[in-house]
Every structure is written in C-alpha cells, then in structure tokens.
C-alpha cells in the first residue's frame, strides 16, 4: 500500500492505495465519482478522460500512486454552485448527447482544449476531441457543442 494525497474537484484527499490500483478505480470505487466511465481499459476510447494538472489523461492508464500530489478535475467538478458549466449546457442544447457514455470524457476534453485555446478552429476542435470515441453521433454535434460553448462563455452565460 502507498499513501498518497491528491486534489480532486478542489477537495484534498489523503488515501492509502494498493500499488496496482488504477486512477479510474480510485475515482470510481473509492471516491464514488462514477461519472468517469470505463469503455476499454486500454486507452483507446477516452471514456475515462479526466483532467490532471491541466492535461487530459486516460484514467485507466494512470496508476493511482502516479496521481500523488496532482490536481484532478472529473465531470463531477464541472458543476459550480449548482450551475453546470457552459460546455455542458452547450452539449445539451445542440443535442450532442445520445447514449451518454462518452459524454463525461468528451466534455472534459472540450474543456481542456478551450482552457488552452479559447478560439480554436474546427480542425483544432476535431483534434481536441480526437482521443474520445463516440459510437452514436458521428461527432459533428460535439463540434457544434464546442462552438456553442465558446459563444456561451463569451456571453457570460
């Protein structure tokens, strides 16, 4: 077992984890943050995407002990004071959500992109979500959602 401390959604956690525990298991099984999804367990699908120190990672490929000292944002941390983030609102409004299993990861990849580049081109949006597979939509709606989110954030919605 290893003792680690990390910040998840602005909250400090000090936990003892086994060496073979993955970050996704820590988040889901230990911290109860079930919004992070496991689609493949090998870094292909991006459903388990979280933002770790400003960068998107596949939480199925990060060991829990590797997250020691890091600052992590999961989908649960996108909501502030009962209000969802403009990116989430945009995903709802343009109809980018179907089965929903890719959505938490997709939303976080969109956030990481817009944090770094507030006005990305269509191609940059495509690249920004290229690590997240969706089997329902064909991706266009996610691109519209990112564009809509930029509008919302400028309007201060």
């Amino acid at each position: 077992m290893v003792n680690i401390s990390l910040i998840v959604n602005e909250k400090l956690f000090e936990v003892s984890v086994s060496e073979n525990l993955r970050l996704i298991d820590l988040l889901r099984d230990e911290l109860g943050l079930i919004g992070t999804k496991e689609g493949c367990g090998e870094g292909e699908c991006g459903a388990c995407t979280v933002i770790m120190d400003g960068e998107t990672v596949n939480s199925c490929l990060v060991m829990a002990f590797q997250a020691n000292g890091s600052n992590i944002l999961t989908i649960e941390g996108m909501e502030k004071e009962g209000k969802i983030h403009p990116i989430q609102q945009a995903y709802i409004d343009v109809g980018a959500v179907q089965c929903g299993f890719c959505i938490p990861g997709m939303v976080l990849s969109t956030k990481a992109l817009l944090d770094k580049k507030p006005h990305p081109s269509k191609d940059e949006i495509r690249e920004g979500i290229s690590g997240n597979l969706c089997r329902c939509t064909g991706y266009n709606k996610m691109i519209y959602a990112a564009e809509k989110a930029i509008e919302y954030m400028e309007e201060g919605k």
Partner: protein, 423 residues
C-alpha cells in the same frame, strides 16, 4: 397543422444527467454486501468438453461456480430459436460460449478461480465458411443441417426478363462481419427483494424478452422477476440477445447475495452478436433504354454459431434485394447458415444494409455499359408512388426518393457519366 414536437427543438430528458455524469449505467451501481461474477468462456470453436472445477472451488472467497448442472429448468435460450445454452453441457460451437459462472467476494478472487478451472476439449472439425457449411459433407453445428433459412422470392418470369435485356451484369459481392462496439461494455446487477422477487438491472434492448427467458431457465413465474433497464451505453442491435441476465439472476437466487458483473471490452467482443457477413451473387439486366428487366440474386448470410435473428435478417436481405428499383422479373434466394464463427444477429439495418452494396454497384455497372449517367438510370427505375415492389406491394403513400436523389445530386454535383472503360 400545429405540432407540439415535430419541427421544434426538444431537449432530451436524460441529457442533463448524462452531461453531469450522474446517469447510472449498470457498472455505476454499488450495493452493500455485493459479490462479483465472472464468466468462463470456450477457447475452441468446435468440440466436446469436460469441465473440472474442483480446484477452483477451493479458492478462498469463492461462493460458487455454476455450470449447466446448476440450471434449475431449461438450459436453452435464444430470441427466435432456442439454440444458446445458459452453460455449455456437452459441445461448444464457437469461441466465447459460456461454460461456467464464477462467483466470489471480489473480482480478484474470481480471476484466481478462473485460472484453476480445467476445460478438456475433444476438438471436432469446424466450418467457418457459410458456403462450405451448406454442403452435405460439412461439419454440422446444430441438429442435422446448417441451413437455418431458405427464403424464396419469385416475381414475374426471369426467362422472359432476360430476353428483354441488352446488358446483363453478373458479380459476387462479399460484406464483412462488423462489431457494434457500443461504448458501454455489458454489465449488470441482480438482487432479491424481500418477497423473493429477483431483480436484474441491466442495459438491454428487450427487458420483456429477458424476463421471459429468465423465467423459463429458472422455472419461475414471470411476476417473480423484474428486469430494470438502466441507462444504455449504446446498443445498435447487440443488446437484443441475452448477455449477463440469466447468470446473474441464477446466482442471486441461489446465493441470496447481490451480485454484479462487468465485462471487459475483450469479453464484450466475445460475448455479443455481430453483423452478418454476406456473400451476394447478383445478375441484373437492363434493356437498351436503361430500364431494369431482370434480376437474380443468391444471398448467403453467415449466422455463426447461433441463429439469433438470422431468419429475420436474411428474410429482410431477400425482401430488400432489388433495392428501391422496379424490376418486373426477379428471383431471390437468401439463406441463413450456421458456422463455427462468432454468432451474428441484429445490427443497424438488419440485413437491408448489406444488399445495398450489391444492388447499387450493379446499377453503376449497367450505367457504364449503357453509357448512361448513373443518376439518370436510377431516375428511370426508382420506386415512385404507385410502383410495385418485387414482393408485390403497391406503394400507395409517400415515396419521395426522386426528391432525395435530386437533392443529393445537386449538393454533391454528382451527375456525370461514369468514366470507367471496363470494370
């Protein structure tokens, strides 16, 4: 007409729960005192098995390892033909058949026991090509023939039709097996309510069929079984067959503990159906003016080791074999055939998708032979209001295919003669 929904932008009811990560899929539900399950699956495509679970049962933390001997009533299930076994009793017919269900206190304990189950195979000759599987001397997958369905469509007189043709094109098309790869791997939970009702929480396309199957296998009245559909992480047809439901219900009843299972992506690939690969032999003919006069098609669908929806899928392939074209003289023979491949079932389009590869390329080749624009030959032959299909249906309502083709042609600026000298 004032419509409440059509033409309006409606926000889907579950969008909020999904963008916030609050939507529950089966893997997201945790119950107190719950145990875990793991399925042992066949690793050979065809063979008789002997299973030894004695060492595996001794692993500390294992509650029980279920095999066919533990199924209280019928060991068989299936959406149309009952040709799946809850657990293999004697003969495996594909890689991925469930042989045993391991239940333990943790997933790690189940993994440990999994390694200790011994399966001895007496391998049998297997067949992987549906055309080979139709021959008399082929290995037989189930019963006494591999042919599940022969659908015949006869319309007009093909000999007369042939005489009217200036050109006839003849080709064989093959479409591949396709995996749905929905994003949420199969998972489920089962537990007992106070009055003994068994609850199965699962992402399924058919909660009502699932309940029927569980009732038949476990010998319970349907009202003692509840199937709760959670959020479904994609399906596309692959959640029409049973996956975790019967195993979970059986374990919950016998062990009286809540039980959960989550498939890995690899197991998800092994466990559920695929799209039917098809071999499509087509002959299509047109007269000198570009009007279709004749078509013959033989369509062979590989159903793999189980029938699933093969009867419906290959019938649909046969019904749709002409595509949206009026052809007065048509013979279609479509077959669904067992092989020792992964089983195939429902997938978007349900048999209508594959044949479009064949009939549209046939039209394109005829256009080349006639020196005709590929749009023009289609406009001459498409279904319109009042057309008769090869199955004898008169299309009396809206048939706006001409408008669709015109719109596509305009957007893509596709209309041109195919510049192919020979194909």
């Amino acid at each position: 007409m004032d419509l409440n929904v059509v033409g309006k932008n409606i926000i889907r009811v579950d969008a909020y729960s999904k963008v916030t990560g609050k939507a529950l899929y089966p893997q997201d539900i945790y119950l107190e005192d719950m145990v875990y399950g793991k399925v042992l699956r066949s690793t050979k495509p065809h063979g008789k098995i002997k299973v030894d679970i004695t060492e595996a049962e001794k692993v500390k933390g294992i509650l029980k390892i279920f095999t066919y001997k533990d199924v209280p009533k019928e060991n068989k299930y299936g959406v149309v033909l009952k040709d799946h076994e809850v657990f293999v009793s004697e003969k495996v017919v594909r890689i991925g058949e469930p042989i045993a269900f391991i239940v333990g206190e943790t997933q790690e304990i189940c993994e440990e026991a999994y390694e200790k189950i011994i399966v001895d195979y007496e391998e049998l000759n297997a067949v992987f090509d549906p055309i080979e599987a139709m021959k008399e001397d082929s290995p037989i997958v189930h019963g006494d023939s591999n042919i599940i369905l022969h659908y015949k469509l006869r319309h007009g007189d093909i000999e007369e039709g042939k005489k009217k043709c200036k050109y006839i094109v003849e080709n064989i098309y093959r479409s591949p097996m396709v995996e749905h790869a929905f994003l949420q791997p199969e998972a489920g939970l089962s537990y007992l309510e106070e009055d003994g009702t068994v609850v199965v929480a699962v992402a399924t396309q058919y909660p009502h069929y699932d309940r029927e199957e569980i009732a038949i296998n476990l010998g319970l009245p349907e009202e003692k079984i509840k199937v709760i559909n959670t959020n479904i992480g994609g399906a596309f047809g692959a959640r029409e067959d049973i996956s975790v439901q019967i195993h979970l219900a059986l374990a919950a009843i016998v062990l009286r503990r809540p039980i959960k299972i989550i498939f890995s992506r690899e197991e998800s690939f092994l466990a559920h159906s695929k799209r039917h690969p098809m071999v499509m032999k087509y002959k299509t003919g047109a007269d000198e003016n570009g009007f279709l006069q004749y078509m013959e098609a033989e369509i062979i669908g590989d159903s793999g080791a189980h029938a699933s929806w093969a009867i419906n899928v290959l019938r649909k392939a046969g019904v749709h074999a002409t595509g949206p074209y009026v052809i007065p003289n048509v013979n279609v023979d479509s077959y669904a055939v067992y092989t020792n491949n992964p089983f195939t079932g429902a997938m978007r389009g349900f048999g209508a998708t594959q044949v479009s590869i064949a009939y549209e390329q046939q039209i394109d080749e005829l256009a080349v032979k006639l020196g005709m624009d590929p749009i023009e030959i289609r406009m001459k032959n498409i279904f319109r209001k009042g057309s008769m299909t090869a199955t004898g249906q008169i299309l009396t309502d809206s048939v706006p295919l001409d408008k669709c083709i015109e719109a596509v042609d305009k957007e893509f600026q596709f209309s041109r003669k195919l510049e192919v000298e020979s194909i």
